[in-house]
Symmetry: C2
Subunit: 395 residues, 2 copies
């Protein structure tokens, strides 16, 4: 049998378990909390006080104004504490400040190539964070954690990038250690498509247990939510579908050195390359998006074929994972229905009925905010976890 997590509810640590009850935001009285936990009223009082001191819980409701009597209801304080989130892309860095419900309070975006290396890029994150907090009239003492998305493979447990192809200088760099030294807060690091999946899930599909988020941009990758939980796999490479090989792609060389990879057939640059080969003057994925929006038939046809190629791989994903929602996101998803149509055409005809009868294939709702919302969620979930609260109480 699995060994259950040992529940420590004695001493200050008990406040952490009490907080888990209050995380849903619903106000509760001390008496209700005592009844829910079986703890003495006096113990509940001490633990609520500890949480109020940390700014995590606040009195709510009419009783606040009732003179000398202590307030009778308490709930999560959504913005007494904050988190930071950074989406570091190949060329841009976006930084936001969010409250404890994941609502974005302030944001900045700047051109900042990830190839500048970890220290210049993270220094820019620190500068932006400080400015954003100042603009909100808040400071770093209010911040519980930072979530960071990187455009490459990340060992989530240690927060290090692992052999990232487009990130010179980042391989093995200890992001949490650097952040701890410069901001004094915990950093949670993951790859960009994982945090996009988390952001999309939390924003638009909170009750969906099984969701596959597919990013189609400079590369192609996916983030997997199974059983309501992001699945990273044994080495953090789960969802890495960009290098699955397609029979149709025989001979097409991929950046990974193999041939016929999905990414070499259906990414933004790959579609642009195919259009150039057909005589269309186009360099980037964004220009492909612009052509599709302008109604260019060649571009529409190329995007639809890319959707079919992605659909070939997603058909296997559907058999394996049986998701109820597939979300297409990333910059190329901005082309809208044409990409979706190609994906749907292949997935719905190539899968067994049981796996597709309740399957939706849709465009991202979170769109360009998916990553920063996801990085906020990553930071919040860690900071407000039992272990996170225990650390705050001990700190």
């Amino acid at each position: 049998m699995t060994a259950p997590r040992t529940v420590a509810v004695s001493g200050a640590a008990g406040a952490s378990d009490l907080f888990q009850l209050l995380r849903d935001g619903r106000p509760r009285t001390r008496a209700e909390l005592a009844a829910l936990t079986g703890l003495a009223r006096s113990t509940v009082g001490l633990r609520v006080d500890a949480l109020r001191e940390l700014g995590l819980v606040e009195p709510v409701g009419e009783s606040i104004s009732s003179g000398g009597r202590p307030p009778s209801q308490f709930a999560l304080a959504p913005s007494a504490r904050l988190v930071l989130a950074a989406d570091l892309g190949a060329s841009h860095a976006t930084v936001v400040v969010s409250d404890l419900t994941g609502t974005i309070l302030a944001r900045s975006q700047e051109r900042r190539p990830i190839a500048e290396g970890p220290e210049p890029v993270l220094e820019a994150v620190v500068t932006s964070s400080t400015q954003l907090l100042k603009g909100l009239d808040r400071d770093l003492d209010d911040v519980l954690a930072i979530g960071i998305g990187l455009p490459g493979p990340v060992e989530h447990d240690t927060g290090r990038a692992i052999n990232p192809p487009i990130m010179p200088g980042w391989d093995g760099f200890d992001v949490p250690e650097w952040i701890d030294r410069h901001l004094g807060i915990p950093a949670l690091v993951d790859n960009d498509v994982n945090i996009m999946a988390m952001g999309e899930h939390r924003l638009a599909f909170r009750d969906v247990e099984h969701l596959l988020f597919v990013k189609v941009a400079t590369g192609v990758g996916s983030g997997i939510i199974s059983g309501g939980v992001l699945q990273r796999g044994a080495q953090g490479s789960a969802g890495d579908i960009g290098h699955v090989r397609l029979p149709r792609g025989a001979g097409v060389v991929c950046t990974c050195g193999n041939t016929g990879c999905l990414e070499a057939m259906a990414s933004g640059p790959a579609i642009a390359r195919q259009l150039r080969e057909a005589g269309v003057e186009v360099e980037t994925g964004q220009q492909v998006v612009d052509l599709v929006r302008a109604g260019d038939v060649d571009a529409i046809r190329a995007v639809r074929q890319a959707g079919r190629d992605i659909g070939e791989v997603l058909t296997v994903c559907v058999s394996l994972l049986n998701p109820s929602v597939i979300v297409l996101g990333g910059s190329m998803a901005q082309v809208g229905e044409h990409l979706l149509a190609g994906v749907r055409e292949v997935v719905y005809t190539g899968s067994l009925p049981l796996a597709t009868e309740h399957l939706s294939i849709v465009q991202s709702v979170a769109a360009q905010d998916a990553a920063v919302i996801g990085a906020s969620v990553l930071a919040i979930d860690s900071a407000l976890s039992p272990a996170g609260i225990d650390a705050l109480l001990a700190g």
Copy 2:
């Protein structure tokens, strides 16, 4: 933010949370339990008594013999209560009695085609269960639950088979309701490959977070453990890789009506058919196994090619799930290294290094016991869950 499970630790229900601490089997004193939970010694005493009355917890250690003093240490009582488990295959039914650690105490196996329909098959399970319990000098009052594996798609939440192709009469049949009427215990139902994955995981790979169990027998299917948890997907069809289509299989008709499905290329009957087409006299998968064991070169070559075909699909599974272990089980896995060699040949050459550098591809350790161990685990995990214990306490 996700709403955390409301922790109810008041009243009798509190004994359930206390039990979760004791599930690991380690003996603890009342004082240790009080310190771990923050509860009063007297409350701990009442809850321990409630668990002793249910036969879930027993006194252990030297203090038992110390005259009038109450015993000071308590632990899970592994065999004061039992579970039943049934593996219902296409042609055979295996029933076992297990203790609360999943150890098999007694077993029976009989020829019993699933096609006889639910009532005759389940009646046989009841008869076998009664006889096995009698042989152990125990009775149904000692049994907490039964886990049942069916050879087809199952809606796990309701325990109903859904459009099972080889199970006439079973479609929509309410197994838990029937079991409740005839045995008066909860029934947990799942498909055979899911319970095999659970059994293999618990027996041989308990600490592995990401495991893919592949059954190769009359059909081909898989069970997915991600994040330590069995993943069933939105409709319970996760892992259903038998109908992924292979380019090499163009024109080969599958039982599902499509062509080129993995199952039509690499299952036991499919390998036998290919050998017959090559002039070898062979009817069943078991005969193929026998030929391979006898060193027949054609059979070895066919099995190795089946391994490569399975490897083609598993390469995508590895990219998507990033497991650290792939286990090959089911009757065809008895051929041993030849099937494994084909799978390894394709998976290790066709995947990105990050996903395969720590990947083991091995033969099932649990072998023919995988299903009954898994069905026992399914029953135990449900019966000893907080909700299961709460139900017992409520009587």
